[in-house]
């Protein structure tokens, strides 16, 4: 970024604006989107900022075209992003799958609000966690990150771009209305000191290049359109050449590689914060805005002599089941507060596999009060 247009130092920003600045710092130079509460501020910021950094901002006619647009921009060699909320995320689902199938690095920001349908445009929700993993048809591995503050909106947006480039796949930043509209101090490092990852480019001669041949890390190198490499890319099941070959053998080989390119390297993605976990009897598994009342509740429980701890998932997908399994062998139980009817709790239960109690604590259109989570901790501790 041109130095004069890079924000550095301490700023007072809401989560949406911090997310836009994180994208710019990560090298994003193409944004296509359709404004929607509570993600509108991201589009607004990008509309102002993109021209300043010689980037492109397009307000599309809807979210279907927005998603396609950022896939095309990525093939053009740009780091691209869109931002939306539940209803728009639903519209993006088909082409989110296309991005996964064509292996296109890009970032989708979903500032979650209450659903289903139009739901609660102005109020918080965490109901799109499972949609991120299962919302598009077919078998996919998702990568999704979950910030708890404007600072993390900046940091994790940078990380989302780095992971998208590393794994050549769409990455979802699953934030929410509370974090998006909350303003706090955001510290932005100078441009040169932010670690950035760029997609692997092919080094072989164009005639030897196979666009869908994964190397050691199972990620095929990706040229930009116009680099001189011959590309065929399609949503149909394809072989290493990119040719559509609709057979079970090709499907098995392709889907296996798409799965393993993420799952075999998931340690590079999983990002847990541990708080007072070492001697914990009751563990609160939490993410996003819910982490903040959860942390408070854990502190209150400790004050009352209950050995509570917190495992915060900064990356939701791939799910860190090993960390949960390890805890399940020796803790008394888990509490999973979520602003939904029970989503991440299902993954926790899957990992715990009946070894110990898992208590879901749901709410809707608001964040939990610490005292509610404290009560749940007390119940599990008994």
């Amino acid at each position: 970024m041109k130095a004069e247009y890079a924000l550095t130092g301490r700023w007072y920003l809401n989560g949406d604006l911090a997310c836009a600045e994180g994208a710019l710092a990560a090298g994003c130079r193409f944004f296509a989107g359709y404004p929607i509460t509570p993600a509108t501020e991201i589009a607004e910021r990008m509309a102002i900022r993109m021209p300043q950094v010689d980037g492109i901002f397009i307000q599309m006619e809807d979210e279907i075209s927005s998603m396609n647009c950022i896939l095309g921009a990525s093939w053009g060699g740009k780091k691209s992003m869109t931002a939306t909320s539940g209803p728009g995320f639903s519209l993006m689902m088909e082409n989110y799958g296309l991005g996964i199938m064509m292996e296109v690095p890009t970032v989708i920001v979903n500032v979650m609000r209450g659903g289903p349908s139009t739901g609660l445009p102005t109020l918080v929700g965490q109901g799109d966690v499972m949609q991120t993993k299962w919302g598009t048809h077919g078998d996919i591995q998702a990568i999704a990150l979950s910030p708890q503050s404007p600072q993390e909106c900046f940091d994790l947006t940078v990380r989302a771009f780095n992971l998208a480039e590393r794994f050549r796949t769409p990455v979802v930043l699953l934030t929410d209305e509370s974090v998006g509209h909350m303003t706090e101090m955001v510290e932005i490092p100078p441009p040169g000191s932010i670690k950035l990852v760029d997609r692997k480019k092919p080094r072989m001669k164009p005639e030897n290049y196979l666009p869908y041949e994964g190397g050691k890390d199972l990620v095929p190198p990706m040229p930009a359109a116009g680099d001189g490499y011959r590309i065929i890319t399609t949503g149909l099941t394809h072989d290493e050449r990119g040719y559509p070959i609709v057979t079970s053998e090709t499907q098995e080989k392709l889907i296996d590689r798409l799965d393993r390119k993420i799952l075999d390297f998931k340690d590079e993605i999983i990002d847990n914060e541990e708080f007072l976990l070492k001697d914990a009897d009751v563990v609160v598994v939490t993410y996003g805005i819910s982490s903040r009342p959860s942390k408070r509740a854990v502190k209150l429980a400790r004050r009352d002599g209950i050995k509570a701890g917190m495992l915060r998932l900064r990356a939701l997908w791939p799910f860190p089941e090993e960390a949960i399994q390890e805890l399940a062998s020796h803790v008394r139980g888990f509490v999973v507060p979520e602003i939904n009817q029970g989503q991440v709790v299902l993954e926790v239960q899957r990992a715990v596999c009946g070894q110990t109690e898992v208590k879901h604590l749901g709410c809707a259109g608001r964040i939990h009060h610490p005292s509610e989570i404290l009560s749940a901790i007390e119940e599990v501790e008994k």
């Binding site: 007072y12 303003t183 942390k295 408070r296 259109g365 610490p370």
Partner: protein
């Protein structure tokens, strides 16, 4: 221990006093309430050695009706980011006063524009500080700076941030070319606040 209300939950719940200072600013759309909250949070976060979280009432009901800005200021990390039982409330409309005054915690400070808010409810467990903020702003030539008058008043009366921090945050935020007017407004509110505090303390002694 003090009872706290969860946002929108409508049930009383308990939390200990955690060192956070909660400030609620209320008025109607167009008075610059939201901007005031942003400036206050900025004064704490960027121009003092504190942390702050700023949120606002956000929804269709906020358009043209009552709106509120919520600021939490703390020396430590802020876990719960919403105001539930404010230490200080600042009201610039009757509607906001009637909607939010009951949340003010005992011994809390109620600051209000005395031309715009009539104190209908009796509460003997709080401290009241009135200022003709809008009238003072009109005296300076622009009623639009009434919110900045209020920020000066708030700074002097509550001391949640110091004079210089708030001044820096105002200058960092207002449009170029309006600095002088806004500083005048800030000082007018601050001076009024210093006098109010002296008067309040004298009364308390008597």
């Amino acid at each position: 221990m003090s009872a706290k209300k969860a946002k929108g939950a409508g049930v009383e719940m308990e939390d200990e006093d955690n060192g956070d200072i909660e400030v609620l600013l209320g008025g109607f759309g167009g008075q610059g309430i939201i901007l005031s909250g942003l400036i206050l949070g900025k004064a704490a976060s960027l121009f003092s050695d504190k942390r702050s979280a700023f949120t606002q009432s956000y929804g269709p009901e906020a358009r043209g009706g009552s709106c509120s800005a919520n600021v939490i200021i703390s020396d430590d990390e802020i876990d719960y980011p919403y105001v539930t039982e404010p230490h200080h409330v600042i009201f610039m409309s009757q509607g906001a006063y009637e909607k939010y005054v009951t949340n003010l915690r005992p011994n809390g400070k109620l600051l209000y524009d005395e031309d715009l808010v009539e104190l209908k409810y009796r509460r003997n467990d709080i401290h009241r500080f009135g200022i003709p903020a809008t009238r003072l702003a009109e005296g300076l030539g622009r009623r639009i700076v009434a919110n900045i008058v209020m920020l000066g008043f708030l700074t002097a009366v509550t001391k949640v941030v110091d004079y210089d921090a708030m001044k820096s945050a105002i200058l960092d935020t207002v449009p170029p070319g309006t600095e002088d007017l806004n500083l005048k407004a800030y000082n007018a509110g601050y001076d009024h606040g210093v006098k109010s505090i002296e008067h309040h303390e004298k009364q308390a002694k008597d």
